[in-house]
Structures are given as structure tokens and as C-alpha cells.
Symmetry: C2
């Protein structure tokens, strides 16, 4: 009997936005793992901290929080670290900021382990929902569409994806903020009420009209472009 | 002093996927409202039921669960019903299936009431995250994009939106399932491992390869088209 691999979404930052299922499983599962890039603090662990019993086995994984450039072999090494207790029959929970399968590095661990161990994914509140709640703006409405895209794409790709679309959300804004602001202004999209949301649901949460934003933004920020169609009644 | 309007996401169906914040507020706020179309049962209320104290004032709103065709004046009437206790200084929570601002009818109530009353939105786990967890498929990865669109769009619009995009999720599948299946097969997209997920996180949850699906689907179903790019390592 092997253990089961759990990917547990702990939500966007406010520990109270964890689901009850996440809290119950974190209190039960004997081995807890989490991305702790560069040996530093783990955001996912910080969110879950109030629910982690003392004396639990913990595995800090040297992988990025979100999939992206990582040292060669980082995901293989992390998967091998998880495989040890799993092979010995112990359940392992990987704590994931937001939702495990929405731009989460859990995807890369699951793909390396699912052929050998049973997997359960516990969905969490993603960062976009937290941004929308902070800004009190709809993400998508009625028969509209929502395009989610990372700010890391180049201008041509961003323009093609945003051209003529409905609502959009741009993640990983960070240092791309000035370029995004200029691009969206040139496209006339900023006029639709685009906002930049920093640290949604965390300390330091702030919503700023994109037109008023100056300079770079924190990594944990997103730009929301609300649906163009303001029609509401039936 | 007026009351505060809360839009509370109760998640995709499993009551344990409610956030702790939602459970705490539902136990505290004196007036609870929810969409109960056609005077029938309310899904959001059913999800939250284990956390609703006895004797709470409840308002059943005659509006659809998701924004869409509704009797003329339905949202105005619902907003007026909520405005009464709010004007009298009582807080009101609207229970919302999934996330309040992701295709939720709360959007239409908020837009009618936010000029008169303070609003707090509590984000919830949306149905897409529950579908991805059920299917153990990524919604979006790395520098990829995610396009969310309703199956109610016509073939030309669907084709334009899905052509050349990365990952996609199609909501409100229901009776559109056969048309979607044919369209995605003709586009070669179904080969990428598209699945149809019914009743994610509820009783009756089921994941079926789209290529094997026959006939119409339940209203609470979605088609997930995973990211094309299977590359994983850093």
C-alpha cells in the first residue's frame, strides 16, 4: 500500500479563505510539503500555519511557487523527495497557494508522480477571485468570455489576445506594469475601467485604476479588465 | 447607519469546499438571501445549509442562478427586497454558488445596490477549479493562457475564440454538448485530451473524454481543454 498524494489549495492569502476541507486534511495528513524557493519562506505554509499541528513532518521543496524558470532538475528532485514517504505508505499533502491546478507548480509534481501514486486535488480560491472581490468588479458575466493571460507574453501576443475580447485578467504583472499600462492605453482598453490589484486578500491589499499606476508592481498583482458590456437587466 | 451587503461564495457544491470565512459570516449575518429560481430549491442554500443557524431571516430571490434570461424586472425586484433590511440597518448576505463575481447573478444585485450600501465580497472556489480537480488536469500552466467561454456562443464565435488559443474551459455545456463535440473534433482540439466534467465536487461527479460523450449534458457541466504544451521541466 502506497500513500496518497494530495494537492491542497490554501487560497489567495487570507488564511480564512482556506476551505474547510483544506483545513481538515492539513490537520490529518502526516507529511506536509510546500514550495520554498531559494530556501526562503513558503507563502503556502504561512497561509496554512494556523492549521498545522506541532510535530508534523515537513518537506520544503526547492521549486518556484508558480511554474517557471527553475534550476535544472528541480522538479525531479522535489518529486523524488515526495516519492519517499509515499512509497513507504504515508500520505503527503502539497500545500499550494491559490488553486493547485491554476498556474500552480503542483501540476509539475502531479505529472511526475500520478503514474505511481493515487492523487487527490482539493481546489482552492484562486487569486483572480480574490482580486475581483477586492476591486468589486465582475470577472465575467452572462454570455461573456474571460481571457486569462500572463504579463510575461510579448506585446504582439498580448495585443492579439486582448484585441476584441471581453473581460480579461493579466497575471504576474510585476515589472511588466509600465509596458502593460502603455499597451492597454494605446488599445483603448484602459478606458473600460482596468484596475491593478496588489496583494489581494493579504495585508497591503490595494486597488488602483491602471491609468493612475506608476512604475513597477509587486509580483503578487494582477490587472483586471472588466467586461465591456455594461448591460444588466434580463 | 445602513446594513452591509455581503456576496458570499459558497463554492462549487461540496459544503466542505466552503471557505472558513463564508461559514463564519453565514453563522453571524442576520438576513440570508439566495437565488431560488421559479420558487424552487436554491443550490446555494443547500450547500450552505449545514452552517445556517435555525430561525434566521431568509429571502428567496426569484432570479436565475447565473445571469441570463429572467422575467423583466426580476433583478430590480430582488434588489428592492434586499434594500429593505439594508435600509433598516441589518446586514444581508447573498449566498452565491461558486464565486460571486465569476458569472454570478450577485453581480447584477451589487450593481444595483452598491451606490446606497457598503459591499463586501467573499470569494469562493469556482466551478472550473472543481472540474480541474475532478479531472486532474491543469487549467493553465506556466506562461500559457486560459480562455473561459460559455457554450451558448454560436459556432463562428466559438471557433474564433478557440482557434490557436491555449487552454480553454467551456461553461454552461448542457444541451450544447453534441454541437461542441462536433465543433472541437472538426478543429482537432478534442485530440488534446478534452474532457466533459459533470457535477464537479457533488454527488454524480463524472469525467468523460469528450470524444466518448453521447447526447446532451447536465447544466452543471463543463468541457476542459488542457494546455497544448506538455513541456514540463524548467
Amino acid at each position: 500500500m502506497t500513500g496518497r498524494l494530495y494537492g491542497i489549495g490554501v487560497g489567495p492569502g487570507d488564511p480564512e479563505l482556506m476551505t474547510m476541507k483544506a483545513a481538515r486534511l492539513i490537520a490529518m495528513i502526516p507529511v506536509l510539503a510546500y514550495p520554498a524557493p531559494d530556501g526562503g519562506a513558503s507563502l503556502a505554509r504561512a497561509i496554512a500555519a494556523p492549521f498545522i499541528p506541532p510535530g508534523r513532518t515537513e518537506l520544503a521543496l526547492a521549486i518556484p511557487i508558480r511554474p517557471g524558470p527553475a534550476p535544472a532538475g528541480a522538479y525531479e528532485a522535489a518529486a523524488a523527495l515526495l516519492a519517499e514517504p509515499l512509497a513507504a505508505g504515508r500520505d503527503v499533502a502539497v500545500l499550494c497557494e491559490g488553486d493547485p491546478l491554476f498556474y500552480g507548480s503542483f501540476i509539475y509534481l502531479m505529472e511526475r508522480l500520478a503514474d505511481r501514486f493515487p492523487v487527490t486535488v482539493v481546489p482552492g480560491v484562486n487569486s483572480l477571485s480574490a482580486c475581483a472581490a477586492a476591486a468589486q468588479l465582475p470577472l465575467a458575466r452572462r454570455d461573456g468570455t474571460l481571457t486569462v493571460l500572463p504579463a510575461t507574453l510579448n506585446d504582439d501576443k498580448l495585443r492579439a489576445l486582448l484585441n476584441g475580447t471581453g473581460a480579461a485578467a493579466i497575471l504576474k504583472v510585476g515589472r511588466h506594469a509600465p509596458r502593460l499600462k502603455a499597451l492597454l492605453a494605446a488599445m483603448g482598453v484602459a478606458d473600460r475601467g482596468a484596475v491593478l490589484v496588489e496583494h489581494a486578500s493579504r495585508g497591503g491589499q490595494r486597488v488602483t485604476p491602471l491609468a493612475d499606476w506608476q512604475g513597477e508592481a509587486p509580483y503578487f498583482s494582477a490587472v483586471l479588465i472588466p467586461p465591456a458590456d455594461k448591460e444588466t437587466a434580463p
